[in-house]
């Protein structure tokens, strides 16, 4: 068990910069999710921690040891691959036992530990089979077992759930989180699935184009996105963005766009004046933070053009002058397609159009 410290990590592949000056501290025992779209450098970062890639610049520490020059086998980390990378010519038992065999663990102890892990993961029945004859979910657990059985100081998971079906994924992500809590081992978990990130992480590190966008708890990431990329990326129904500018109207600051005029609180207006003097900024609001009335007289009116019932809730697709908004409502919504609603915006964020940074 150890802390992982990444300092100024930069990785070039040829002329392409995959990771750009990344600083990240994963506290001992934490589950940190590296979240980002494909090509954002999250997997490269993790491969650098595992020792499968050499950093171009920067240092990686596991505990107090600088591991830059250590071989993967000397780092005592376990990696679960997206492809599982099981040894096809070994049985499941041998797959799980392999890291122990390499450490010259006594035979009876190997037997005991592999059985224990297999039982914990519910794959005892697969142990005598080669991985090729196991289902996707079983293979996934064999790969997990191979990582767990060693009791490494750090777990690294590279999108381990992306190749199994949706139902099992929901189950397995809870399982992995539970295992991590039970074992108390530091874990770095790479995914592009923001739901996985939100549900599993102690801390989420959102990455884009090789740089760290924000590090925070899931609720911090969700409620206080540092910039418009994080805001856009996190949230299963994405945040709505309304481009416009801040203006004074009757002594009050409002966010004025082609479609809406939205009053901005004094506190936020003061900070906006300081941080974004031009006033050109985009307003971001989550679908559940938009309130509406069926009042045809109120401010900020817009028409519903589509209902998306999701069972537990309904998404209203609202359109006004080329701007599309998604609004969450209860499942048994009274709204019908073609209705005109009057919108009010409960909690929202302002993002500087030039930098993309949140005004806070």
């Amino acid at each position: 068990m150890a802390e992982v410290r990444i300092e100024g990590l930069t990785k070039y592949f040829g002329d392409t910069c995959a990771v750009n000056q990344l600083n990240l501290v994963v506290r001992d025992g934490d589950l940190v999710v590296l979240l980002g779209p494909s090509g954002c450098g999250k997997t490269t970062t993790m491969r650098c921690v595992a020792g499968l890639e050499r950093p171009t610049y920067g240092d990686i520490y596991i505990g107090e040891t600088r591991v830059n020059d250590l071989e993967p086998r000397e780092r005592d980390v376990a990696l679960v691959f997206q492809s599982y990378a099981l040894y096809p010519h070994f049985t499941a038992f041998d797959n799980i036992a392999y890291p122990l065999r390499l450490r010259k663990t006594p035979k009876d102890e190997i037997e005991r530990r592999v059985r224990d892990v297999a039982e914990m993961l519910g794959i005892t029945h697969t142990l005598e089979r080669p991985p090729g004859l196991c289902s996707g979910g079983e293979q996934q657990r064999i790969a997990l077992g191979r990582a767990i059985v060693r009791e490494p100081v750090v777990f690294l998971m590279d999108e381990p759930l992306s190749n199994i079906d949706a139902l099992l994924r929901v189950y397995m992500r809870a399982e992995i989180k539970r295992l991590q809590h039970e074992l108390g081992t530091t874990m770095i978990y790479v995914t592009h699935d923001q739901v996985e990130g939100m549900t599993m992480a102690d801390q989420i590190a959102v990455m884009n184009e090789g740089t760290l966008q924000q590090l925070g708890t899931p609720s911090e990431i969700y409620d206080m996105p540092a910039n418009n990329f994080v805001a856009r990326f996190v949230g299963s129904t994405p945040m709505n963005f309304i481009p416009g500018a801040l203006q004074k109207e009757n002594g009050k600051t409002v966010h004025k766009s082609d479609q809406f005029v939205i009053p901005v609180g004094d506190e936020m207006a003061d900070r906006a004046a300081e941080l974004c003097p031009g006033g050109v900024c985009t307003l971001g609001v989550r679908p559940e933070e938009i309130r509406f009335t069926m009042d045809e007289e109120g401010a900020n009116q817009a028409g519903v053009f589509l209902l998306e019932p999701l069972g537990s809730e309904t998404i209203l697709d609202i359109e006004k002058e080329g701007l599309l908004l998604k609004v969450k409502d209860v499942a048994a919504t009274q709204v019908r397609e073609g209705d005109v609603l009057s919108l009010s915006f409960n909690r929202f964020h302002l993002f500087d159009d030039e930098t993309g940074a949140a005004i806070r």
């Binding site: 990378a85 099981l86 390499l102």
Partner: protein, 321 residues
């Protein structure tokens, strides 16, 4: 654990087909009726008939004819197994058989080692431009046996040959390679390794390319050294290719005749007679094709037995526990 168990159907599958037997029409009786029962099949059969005939002509007919030759004397009279029993007393034949086996025992492992070494080198990150390396390395495969033999005969020449140059540089007496039995054997083995190892290289290189990269990474993270990963991942993975390479190299090295014809002509004395050379000499110089056919049968059996052994111990997957 047996191999059978690994390929047995998943539980449930057997039961399903057993249950549905009653609702299915009965299976057709026998291969031939099934083959000719449909129009499509009839066309298919027509299409394979020419190649089938060709196969019969060049494969089955010679084998059957060979048996007839063995069982008859040079004058065409039936003599039963006399040719074979004579073979057991023929010391020249014994020498040739032993020489062939000796050559196989030396050449096969050497070819596999050299081939594997080259395959690993070309496969590694150190070799850029792999296509160029491959095309250079397989040149010996494209050279005919006779030409290779001629070339090496010049290489082994006591005064002109390249092989003796380093010896001369060290101030040693030049070795007259092809006139003494033991040096001739070594010299022939070298030619054969040069000639055949590219085949092993090509097959093993293809095998190496089949190994997924990620299992090496998994092994590295799991704690395996490069050497250990080679032993635990690479070798088991390329084992089927290894078996194929072993069989082909064995066949190539035991049947060789052009090399001998171009270099030693079986000499000195009969020291470098192998089976092919014996069969050739017996049929076309001594003009005893019936007797030589018995030796052909022995050679065929030898290859068959060796092939079976290689397949059994190398190819067929065995469990590691």
């Amino acid at each position: 654990m047996t191999v059978q168990q690994t390929v047995s159907p998943l539980p449930g599958q057997g039961a399903t087909s057993a249950n549905s037997v009653n609702t299915q029409p009965p299976p057709p009786q026998g291969m031939w009726s099934e083959l000719f029962s449909f129009r499509d099949n009839r066309l298919g059969v027509m299409l394979i008939v020419p190649s089938l005939l060709a196969l019969i002509l060049v494969q089955f007919y010679p084998i059957v004819y060979n048996f007839w030759l063995i069982l008859t004397s040079e004058k065409g009279e039936w003599i039963g197994l006399a040719n074979l029993s004579r073979l057991t007393r023929d010391t020249i034949f014994h020498g040739a058989l032993i020489f062939s086996l000796k050559m196989g025992i030396v050449v096969v492992p050497m070819c596999l080692l050299v081939g594997l070494g080259l395959a690993l080198l070309v496969h590694s990150d150190y070799a850029g431009r792999k296509a160029i390396w491959i095309s250079i390395l397989i040149i010996p495969l494209m050279v005919s046996e006779i030409v290779a033999g001629m070339m090496w005969k010049i290489m082994y020449h006591p005064t002109l040959g390249l092989v003796n140059v380093p010896l001369a540089a060290l101030g040693l007496e030049p070795i007259i390679w092809l006139v003494k039995a033991d040096t001739a054997f070594i010299a022939l083995c070298v030619v054969e390794v040069w000639r055949i190892s590219p085949l092993a290289f090509l097959l093993l290189y293809a095998g190496l390319n089949q190994v997924p990269r990620d299992i090496y990474e998994a092994a590295a993270v799991d704690g395996a050294t490069r050497w250990r990963a080679f032993w635990d991942m690479t070798l088991p993975y390329i084992r089927p290719m290894f078996a194929i390479a072993t069989i082909l190299v064995f066949v190539w090295s035991t049947r060789t005749i052009g090399t001998i014809a171009a270099t030693t002509q079986g000499g000195p004395g009969r020291a470098t007679w192998n089976l092919s050379w014996y069969i050739y000499g017996m049929s076309f110089q001594r003009l005893k094709p019936h007797y030589a056919s018995a030796a052909v049968l022995v050679m065929l059996l030898m290859t068959y037995i060796a092939g079976t052994i290689f397949v059994r111990y190398l190819w067929v997957e065995r469990r590691s526990r």
